[in-house]
C-alpha cells in the first residue's frame, strides 16, 4: 500500500515535470529531456523491481536460514544434552560414590554429591531414591524428603537409561539430566542441572551465527532469562508479541527477523528460544548492490546525456542547414547547395535538397528561355499546365504587321547590320505587344503575328489589339528618327487586325509545337495587313473589330471587301487614333470621306468625285485618290453598266 502511493507520487511528479518541460523550444533540449527522462524511468523501474525482489529473497533466505539454524540449534541442544548425560553417566559410575551411597551416611553422601556436581560443572545436583523421593537437593535443601518434581523424567530414565530436559527451575532455565546410579542394578537416581545462561548462548551463537534468547512465559508475560542481545534490546524483546513462524520485531535501531522454538511447551512454565537475525545485516549485500546500481545509473545517465546531445546535434544541425537552404531557395537563390553528407535519411534529405535546387535552377532557366521564345503569358500558361496538343475555339483579335520596303533595304545592308536592325525593330515591337498583354505568336522575317483573347480571356482584346497597333506605330516613329540619322530609308509599317472565332492551342508535333491560332479570322487579319498597300493606310481593321473599338478609337470606313473564297463582304476601317487624340484635320477627313463614300455608293459620282478630289488635294489622302481612280475607270467603262462595284474583291 505504501509502495503504491510512492509509485503514484512518482507518477504525478513525472507528469508535472513533463508539463514543466513541455515549453522546451529547442529540439535538442526536448530530445535530451525525453531520452534522459525515459532512462530515469527505466532505471527507477529496475531499481524498484530489484529492491522488491532482493528484499523478498532476503526475507525468504533468512526464513530458510532460520529454519536451518533452528535445526542446528536443536541438534546442538540435543548434543549438549547427550554430552551432559554421558558426563553424568560417567560420574554416576564412580565406584567411590556408590560406596558412599552404600554407607548410607547422609552427610557424606551430600558432600560427595557436591563434589560430583562440581566435577561436572553442574549448577545443581539431586539424589533421588528409586521410589522418587528426593534424598538430596543442593539447590533447595528444604525439598529433601519430598517427591521429585519431574517424575515423568524418572520414568523416561527408567525406560531409556537416561533422560534430559530443558526446564525452568527457580526462574532460571536449566538443562536437567537424570541417570541411574548402578550397583550394578539401580540404587538411586542422579540428577544434574546445568543452567542455560548467556555464556552458553554465546557459545551457541558462535556456532549458529544467530542471536539467541531464552524466554519464559507466565500469565502472558514474557521474561527474558538469557540472551546474546544487548540488555536494551532484551527489554524490547520481552514486550514483543511472538508467533511460531518467522516474525519481525524491532528496536529503535534494529529490525530482527525471528523464529520461535518451543523448548518446553508446558503451559505452567513455557520455555521458548528465539533465534534472530538482524535485518540490516542480511541486507548488507543489498546495500552494496544499491550503491553499484546507483553508480551504473549515474554512469548511464551521463552516457545518455552525451548520446542525446550528440544525437540532437546530428539531427538539428542538418535541420538548421536545411532551413537556411530553404530560406535561400525561397529568396530565389537556386544555386544554394547544402553541405550534408552521410548515407542515412538526413544525408538522403541533403542530397534530395541539392537535387531539388538544381532542378529548380534548370526549371528557372527553361522558364526564362521559354519567356524569350514564346510570349511570357503563353510561357506561364505552358509552365502552369501540362502541355498537350490540341486547341479550342474562342474569339480572339489577331494582329499582322509588316515593314514595307524591308526587302529592298535588306539588299543594301550587310547581314550583321540587317540582323541588328531587325532585332532592334522586333525588340521594340514585341515590347509594345507585351505591354498590351498580347501574345506574340511568331516573327516571320520582319513580319510579326500576335493575338489577344487567348490563352488568357480578356473582354477588351480588340481594344488591346488596336491600342497595340497604335503604340507600335508610335514606337516606329521613334525608331525611324534613329534610322534616318543612320541614312536608312523611311520604312512604314502596315498592320491588319481582325476579331473573330479562331482555333487557338498547341499546334505542331509533340516534340516541337507552337501556341498559335488558325482560322478564317486569322487569314482576314493577314489580308487586311496586305490591303494597307492598296488603300495607302497603316492600320486596317475589319468591321468585326470596329464594332468593339469604335467607342474608343476614331476610324473611317474605307471599303467593303470580299475575301477570296467568301461570299460575305466585310467592311474595313482605317484607324486614326483614340478619339481624344484625333486632330482637327483627321476629324474633317473622316466626316468628308464618309460623305464622299456615301455619294459614291449612291452612284452620285459627280458629287463623290468632287469630295474625293478635294480630300485627295487637301489631305493628300491615298484612299480618296483610289476612289477618284475608280470613278475614272468606271467612266471609261460606263457603257457596260456593270462598272460600278460597291464591293471590292480583296486579292492576295
Amino acid at each position: 500500500m505504501r509502495g503504491q502511493s510512492v509509485y503514484q507520487r512518482n507518477w504525478v511528479w513525472i507528469l508535472a515535470t513533463v508539463k514543466l518541460f513541455r515549453p522546451f523550444k529547442r529540439f535538442r533540449s526536448r530530445l535530451s529531456f525525453y531520452i534522459i527522462g525515459l532512462l530515469l524511468l527505466i532505471l527507477a523501474g529496475v531499481f524498484t523491481v530489484v529492491n522488491h525482489v532482493f528484499r523478498q529473497n532476503t526475507e525468504e533466505s533468512i526464513h530458510r536460514e532460520l529454519l536451518v539454524t533452528e535445526r542446528v540449534f536443536l541438534r546442538l541442544l540435543s548434543e549438549r544434552s547427550q554430552q551432559l548425560s554421558q558426563q553424568a553417566t560417567a560420574l554416576a559410575s564412580d565406584y567411590a560414590f556408590k560406596r558412599v551411597i552404600g554407607s548410607r551416611d547422609q552427610a557424606t553422601i551430600t558432600s560427595a554429591l557436591s563434589n560430583l556436581s562440581s566435577r561436572a560443572q553442574a549448577n545443581s545436583a539431586f539424589l533421588v531414591s528409586l521410589d522418587n523421593i528426593v534424598q538430596i537437593d543442593t539447590l533447595n535443601p528444604q525439598n529433601t524428603g519430598q517427591d521429585f518434581f519431574a517424575p515423568e523424567l524418572l520414568e523416561q530414565a527408567e525406560t531409556e537409561g537416561m533422560a534430559s530436559r530443558l526446564m525452568l527451575m527457580g526462574q532460571m532455565p536449566y538443562q536437567l539430566v537424570i541417570v541411574p546410579i548402578l550397583a550394578p542394578e539401580p540404587i538411586a537416581w542422579l540428577c544434574l542441572g546445568f543452567q542455560i545462561d548467556t555464556p552458553v548462548l554465546a557459545q551457541l551463537k558462535q556456532l549458529t551465527q544467530v542471536e539467541i534468547s531464552v524466554l519464559s512465559e507466565k500469565n502472558q508475560v514474557w521474561h527474558v532469562h538469557a540472551s546474546t542481545l544487548s540488555a536494551l534490546t532484551q527489554q524490547k524483546l520481552s514486550l514483543s508479541p511472538s508467533q511460531t513462524d518467522g516474525f519481525f520485531w524491532h528496536t529503535d535501531q534494529e529490525t530482527y527477523l525471528s523464529r520461535m522454538i518451543v523448548l518446553e511447551p508446558k503451559a505452567s512454565s513455557k520455555l521458548i528460544a528465539l533465534i534472530e537475525r538482524p535485518w540490516a545485516k542480511a541486507l548488507e549485500n543489498f546495500y552494496n548492490l544499491q550503491v553499484l546500481l546507483l553508480v551504473i545509473a549515474l554512469f548511464s545517465v551521463g552516457l545518455a546525456s552525451l548520446a542525446a546531445a550528440w544525437l540532437a546535434k546530428s539531427v538539428s544541425k542538418p535541420v538548421q542547414i536545411l532551413a537556411t537552404g530553404v530560406q535561400a531557395i525561397g529568396k530565389g537563390d537556386y544555386r544554394h547547395q547544402v553541405a550534408i553528407s552521410g548515407d542515412d535519411e538526413i544525408g538522403q534529405l541533403g542530397l534530395a535538397f541539392n537535387s531539388m535546387g538544381t532542378q529548380l535552377l534548370e526549371k528557372e532557366k527553361i522558364r526564362n528561355l521559354l519567356g524569350k521564345v514564346v510570349s511570357p503569358v503563353v510561357a506561364q500558361e505552358l509552365l502552369n499546365h501540362d502541355v498537350v496538343l490540341g486547341g479550342e475555339t474562342r474569339e480572339i483579335s489577331a494582329l499582322f504587321s509588316d515593314l514595307a520596303g524591308f526587302t529592298s533595304i535588306s539588299e543594301q545592308m550587310s547581314p550583321q547590320d540587317l540582323v541588328a536592325l531587325l532585332n532592334d525593330y522586333l525588340t521594340h515591337m514585341s515590347s509594345e505587344i507585351s505591354q498590351q498583354a498580347g501574345v506574340l505568336d511568331k516573327f516571320i522575317g520582319d513580319a510579326i503575328v500576335a493575338f489577344w483573347g487567348a490563352p488568357v480571356t480578356a473582354a477588351d482584346h480588340a481594344q488591346q489589339a488596336v491600342a497595340c497597333a497604335l503604340a507600335m506605330q508610335r514606337s516606329l516613329q521613334v525608331l525611324r528618327k534613329n534610322w534616318q540619322q543612320r541614312g536608312l530609308p523611311m520604312l512604314t509599317m502596315r498592320i491588319g487586325i481582325n476579331t473573330g472565332q479562331a482555333v487557338v492551342g498547341n499546334i505542331g508535333s509533340i516534340d516541337r509545337l507552337d501556341y498559335t491560332m488558325i482560322g478564317d479570322a486569322v487569314n482576314l487579319a493577314a489580308r487586311l495587313e496586305g490591303a494597307n498597300k492598296y488603300y495607302g493606310s497603316e492600320i486596317l481593321i475589319s468591321e468585326y473589330t470596329y464594332r468593339h473599338v469604335k467607342e474608343v478609337f476614331a476610324c473611317r470606313e474605307l471599303d467593303n471587301v470580299r475575301v477570296q473564297g467568301k461570299q460575305h463582304p466585310v467592311a474595313i476601317y482605317e484607324v486614326f487614333a483614340e478619339h481624344s487624340q484625333i486632330s482637327l484635320a483627321q476629324q474633317q477627313l473622316c466626316v468628308v470621306f464618309a460623305e464622299a463614300l456615301t455619294a459614291f455608293r449612291q452612284q452620285q459620282f459627280e458629287l463623290a468625285k468632287g469630295l474625293f478630289g478635294k480630300l485627295a488635294e487637301q489631305h493628300n489622302d491615298a484612299a480618296s485618290a483610289l476612289y477618284l481612280q475608280r470613278i475614272a475607270t468606271m467612266a471609261t467603262a460606263a457603257d457596260t453598266g456593270t462598272a460600278f462595284k460597291a464591293v471590292y474583291d480583296l486579292v492576295k
Binding site: 559410575s93 560406596r99 552404600g102 554407607s103 527408567e158 548402578l182 550397583a183 550394578p184 539401580p186
Partner: protein, 214 residues
C-alpha cells in the same frame, strides 16, 4: 571334616526320608509362568543343620548363577575362573561387602548372616550382576521354565511360602500356606506382578551378548 560330611549326609538322608515333594507354580498376574523365581518357606524353622557352603562362580565375566538362594549364615565363595581379576562388591543392605581385585579363589568365603536381597556387582565390569537371596529357611527352590519349583518339605507341619524375583514390583511378596494335610498333588500356585523387563540387562557387544547397563 570327614565326620562333618558324614553327619551332613546322614541328616540329609534322614530328613529326606521324612519329606515329600511339593510342586508350586509361580505365574505372573496374566497367568504366564515365571522362570527363575525363588520360592522359599518364609516361616522361621529351627536350625536343623549348619547351612551349606555355596559357590558363586565368575566365568566369562559373568556371575553364575544369576540368582542364588542361601540360608542365613551361609558362607559363599566367589571363585574367579577368568584370567583377569574381578572386584566383587555389594552395597545392599543385607550385605555390604567387597572382594577387591582378586584372581582365583578368594582366601575367605563371605558369610551372609542377614536375610534379604543382595545385589552383586563387579567394579571392573559394570554389566556383571547377580542376586543372592538370603532366607531364614533351608527350604527353597528356583522355578524352571514352566514356572514350577519343587520343594521337599517334611510332612506334618504348616508352612508359609513366598516367592521373589529381581523384577518383583511389590516389595512384599505374596504368601502361600501349606498345611500338614495338604495333598501333594494339589495345585499350588503363587502369583506376582513383575516390572517389564525394560531395564534390560545388556552386555558389551564384544561378548556377543546384549545385557547390562552401559
Amino acid at each position: 571334616m570327614q565326620i562333618k560330611i558324614i553327619a551332613f549326609v546322614l541328616a540329609f538322608v534322614f530328613s529326606h526320608a521324612e519329606a515329600s515333594i511339593w510342586r508350586i507354580k509361580v505365574t505372573d498376574t496374566e497367568g504366564e509362568p515365571i522362570y527363575q523365581a525363588a520360592v522359599y518357606v518364609k516361616s522361621p524353622l529351627p536350625s536343623l543343620s549348619k547351612p551349606k557352603a555355596v559357590t558363586i562362580n565368575q566365568m566369562d565375566k559373568e556371575f553364575i548363577n544369576h540368582i542364588t538362594i542361601v540360608r542365613t549364615g551361609s558362607a559363599v565363595i566367589f571363585p574367579n575362573h577368568d584370567n583377569i581379576r574381578h572386584h566383587v562388591y555389594s552395597f545392599s543392605e543385607a550385605k555390604n561387602f567387597e572382594l577387591p581385585l582378586y584372581a582365583g579363589i578368594p582366601a575367605k568365603p563371605v558369610v551372609f548372616d542377614k536375610a534379604g536381597v543382595v545385589n552383586l556387582g563387579c567394579n571392573i565390569h559394570d554389566w556383571m550382576s547377580a542376586y543372592i537371596l538370603v532366607v531364614d529357611s533351608p527350604f527353597f527352590a528356583l522355578t524352571d521354565k514352566q514356572g514350577i519349583a519343587e520343594l521337599n518339605l517334611p510332612d506334618g507341619a504348616n508352612y508359609v511360602l513366598t516367592a521373589w524375583h529381581p523384577q518383583l514390583k511389590n516389595l512384599a511378596p505374596e504368601s502361600l500356606n501349606i498345611t500338614a494335610n495338604t495333598d501333594h498333588g494339589s495345585d499350588l500356585g503363587l502369583s506376582m506382578s513383575l516390572k517389564r523387563n525394560a531395564r534390560a540387562i545388556r552386555l558389551p557387544t564384544e561378548l556377543g551378548l546384549d545385557i547390562g547397563y552401559r
